[in-house]
Amino acid sequence: MIPGISNNDSIKTTSHKVVVPFYIYAAFSLLISCVMLLLSSSNFLGHYFQPKILAITHMMALGWGTMMILGASHQLVPVLIEGKLHSEKLAHASFYLGAIGVPLMVYSFYFWDMGHPAKWGGRFILLSILCYIINLNKSIKHSKSKNNIHAIFILTSVIWLFITAFLGLALVYNFTFKLFNHDSIYYLPLHVHAGIIGWFLMLIIGVGSRLIPMFLISKYENKSLLKWIYFLINGSLISYIILFYISNKPLYAYLSWILLFIGIIMFVYYCIQAYKDRIRKKVDEQMKISILAIFMILVPILLLFICISTISLLSKEYISLSLSYGFLILFGWITAIILGMTFKTLPFIIWKKVYTQNAFASKTPSPKDLFNNQVFILMSIVYLLGLIAFVIGILTKDINLINIGAILLIFTSILYVFNVIKVIFHKAKTS
């Protein structure tokens, strides 16, 4: 007879009460960011270092991307590390601290007040991240697989997030106290790339490398490839920081870019292999947009190469290229992944809450029935059109295209919020 465990506590996952507030907060952050895009559209014809664009960037990076990822990861970390979440109280603390910090930060950028609102915003966000790091670290310590490559990716990514936020707060202080030799804009690339590569990219690879094969029911597994990707991407970021410190010559950035590019190509290869080896042939729309997002990273990475080339070879920064790069990262790559993954996670969390006790009592809808798939498909089409219009608008400095793009993205966010609310407020339907 096979030995087993009859106690359901051993498989208890994180409560929906922890996760759902993050999803709601993130959904409305996306909507507000898109409205801010339209209200500040003319700013996208100028330099990126200006109040409105910084406010939108932080609303997207923190309110949308980070809050959503933190929420989902409280649910997914147990799957990835094969252990329970250490503390739901710390998860709540992380949410509330972040929820207070983000609007303070966005307000201070929008109205350019680098005094108390910016500093307190930064402090709250740092504390929020600290709560998450403690929670994650303790969860991993108590899990069965401490050296799990996915857990290492996630823990490293959160450490990079802390470094990003810490540097961000230091840059805020630098406006009033002169902490550094140069002004804050000089150090901005460090802050930006620690966030994009260290936090978002590392986390997406760590989570994606587990979830993509899992959702596709793929036999593909390649831990040694993931280790290479881990070292290449961290190597890219660390080399960039060291070279920036030694001598901030744009030419040196090629070395870091090559390491990053190889790492990303390897991850794309990993996803292609997982897709090829899948047992589940039918791929739903949510997975399609998530897989598309993996490939979308190649566009900003190639733009980054062009940016480095123009700066190092022509000694000139083309602002519209840099703006497009940042826009494609936040509104393109990160947003596309979240738009898809929201509906691969949230309906299951809510379905479990509503139907666990009576799922078998009578015929119940499946988790996929909790949102409107037609609305999802429409959202995906409008989103891609909006994204393309906005980027072409930035590159050609065409305000009309920028405005059309912003309106389409507002429409996208309304459709997204509609489906999120539809899922969250789902009531039990049995027949």
Binding site: M1, I2, P3, V79, F360, P367
Partner: protein, 107 residues
């Protein structure tokens, strides 16, 4: 599909019941998915023990699947005490999916 049992006469009945329990994400029943390892009947104690696994230990749907398994067996084996026990040794892997399961997923 090799489910261990101590009662060949009753196992088919139990399998029919368990084929009604679906993994909500995949849409495939837990028998063809290969989650059910062992079903034993203890007629003297009026007890049925089902030993099963999950695709991953902290599967977000794990609690739902085990609850549904219990409900499905309770409906069919009235008066029996149903005990659903989880094991992760051996861990689930893709080779446990039945031919029918593969055909369903390959559609």
């Amino acid at each position: 599909m090799n489910i261990i049992t101590n009662n060949q006469n009753q196992i088919d009945k139990a399998i029919i019941a368990l084929k009604e329990v679906l993994d909500p994400e995949i849409g495939l029943n837990i028998v063809d998915l290969g989650l059910v390892y062992e079903i034993n009947f203890f007629e003297d104690k009026k007890r049925l023990e089902c030993i099963m696994t999950l695709t991953t230990q902290f599967c977000p749907m794990g609690e739902t699947i085990t609850e549904n398994t219990k409900s499905a067996l309770e409906k069919l084996f009235l008066g029996y005490e149903i005990l659903v026990t989880l094991t992760f040794d051996p861990a689930w892997n893709y080779s446990l999916i039945s031919e029918e399961g593969r055909a369903f997923l390959g559609k």
